[in-house]
Amino acid sequence: MIFTLVWENVRFKPVRTLLSVLLIAVPVTLILTLIGLSRGFLDDSARRSQGVGADIVFRAPGTSVMTFSGAALPEKLTEVLTQTAHVTQATGVVNQPIGGFDSVTGIDPAGFTRMSGGFIFREGRIFEKPDEVVVDQFYADQRHLHAGSVTRILNRDWHVSGIVEPGKLAHLFVDVRNLQDLVGATGKLSQIYLKLDDPSNTPQVIQALQAKFDGYAIYSMKELVSLISVNNIPLLAGFINAVVGIGVIIGFAVVSLSMYMAVLQRTREIGILKSLGATNGFVMGIIVSEAAALGFGGTIAGILLSFVTRWAMLHIAPASLPQAVVPSWWPIAGLIAMGGALLGSVYPGLMAVRQDPIEALAYE
């Protein structure tokens, strides 16, 4: 019966219902998009890290999982590390942020190809001249680049010499020496990747390296990939919390206002229900159920809209902002919207309950 009453109420004012549902959907979409973007970004980094084909990554002291830019390792170290037992290959790279979520990576083409199995070129070839850059397909799509195109990175014009299949280390590649000179880090590296004779030797090699290079950040690739998560990026975690908070507030405000209006508009109907002997609980139940219905509708709409933002992101920025679908967050975003909606219905509900039935019946 409450279902009928709520359903007919919701149906009776379709514009109000639609508007409330869409407004509640906004924070749901916001949360899911944000979570999807962080997850997508991290999954993408993890995939690319694995694409290197290394077993161990070696970084300067004082770096953390997600902040490793700045070239602080001496290049000579590559030689030293190659001499460690079980290490068969070592290749160093330089990472340089270029604004936004993007960065350019300097690689030694020979060493990198040996370790990773080499790029698969969709267009063109590896860089040969100092102003040449190789980009992956995502980045090329995002910037509409082809072999031979010119693109501006680090305040310089670069020629795209080739476009490669995505999934290996980075989206943009230049020659490591070239980048070192450019950023004033001649002879320095950001990180060194190591490949072993047998991956099962990884723990033992890490132990040996840690003993020898005290304070350096040395991870197995497996560990590094598992550490790539939202919780290891304090800024992102804080941002997500803020958006979740905004979600609760919007849900609360929208439903509160919407139900407040509904209670005013339905003063007379509430009077009728009371004249029929409806209890306070019954009247409150209708208001709260309607809020829950709006919250539920908003959740569904928000989930659907998050696919729209994903579609948009895939078309606008497939390299910088890959957005994953994260169904495990659907119920969480739903609970946030529902929580806000239910909270928002409490005051209008109490208002409805407290109405004097005689005055309510006289209401025009």
Binding site: M1, T4, L5, E8, N9, R11, F12, R268, E269, G271, I272, L273, K274, S275, L276, G277, A278, T279, N280, F282, D356, P357, I358, L361
Partner: protein
């Protein structure tokens, strides 16, 4: 209190004062009333004489300021809000001048809502309710919303909704006030019929002396009191 046998309503010294800002309005100034079960009473009187106020107290919509009133065995002066809510859901039903149907709901859902609130099975109309709907001539209109019905039909749905829960008392506050003479006559005949056939206790406020004549007796209210009773 001397109770005549089987009185369904007994009121003694009923007073109601409304405080509206600085002004105090004495809507009832001492009403004594005994209504035996099965009676059909008409109430007439000038505007502002307290007729509706008397209904609101008897129907448990508001407590009296002073005095005592027992309705269907419940002392309305003392039961509190919860008790008055129960009175409305179980023992007393209203029919209003303005019909007061829930506008979003069909006639059927209006009736189901009343049944549900009074704790009765809302989905299966029992034979007595079905014959009531026949008597009211609305059995074929149940899936229409109020906006799709004439005033006369709406009022008959309101009567069906009021009686579906089998209340001991029906309080009809100017039930024909918004109807033309043909529909008024139909509603009055239905009320009389319900009273005679089912023994339904009915109190009806009206401004119309011809309408008042449908009752067994007529109470004349003036200045918050029952001034006289005519048969």
């Amino acid at each position: 209190m001397n109770k005549p046998p089987d009185s369904i309503i007994q009121a003694r010294g009923l007073r109601k004062v409304y405080n509206t800002g600085k002004v105090q309005v004495e809507a009832l100034r001492g009403v004594d009333l005994d209504v035996p079960r099965g009676e059909f009473i008409s109430i007439v009187g000038p505007s502002g004489s307290g007729k509706s106020t008397l209904f609101h107290i008897v129907g448990g919509l508001t407590p009296p300021t002073a005095g005592e009133v027992i309705v269907a065995g419940r002392n309305v002066s003392t039961v509190g809000e919860r008790g008055r809510t129960e009175l409305r859901s179980s023992s007393v039903s209203f029919v209003f001048q303005k019909f007061n149907l829930l506008p979003n709901l069909t006639a059927r859902d209006n009736i189901r809502t009343a049944l549900y609130i009074s704790g009765k099975e809302p989905d299966q109309f029992d034979p007595e309710l079905l014959s009531l709907l026949d008597l009211l001539g609305i059995a074929g209109r149940l899936d229409h919303k109020p906006s799709e019905m004439s005033g006369g039909e709406q009022q008959r749905v309101a009567i069906a909704r009021a009686l579906a829960t089998r209340p001991a008392i029906l309080l009809a506050d100017e039930p024909t006030g918004n109807l033309d003479s043909r529909n008024s006559l139909a509603v009055l005949n239905i009320l009389k019929d319900l009273n005679e056939r089912l023994g339904q206790t009915i109190l009806m406020i009206t401004h119309n002396t011809e309408a008042a004549a449908f009752g067994h007796r007529t109470l004349h209210m003036r200045d918050g009191r029952i001034a006289e009773t005519s048969h």
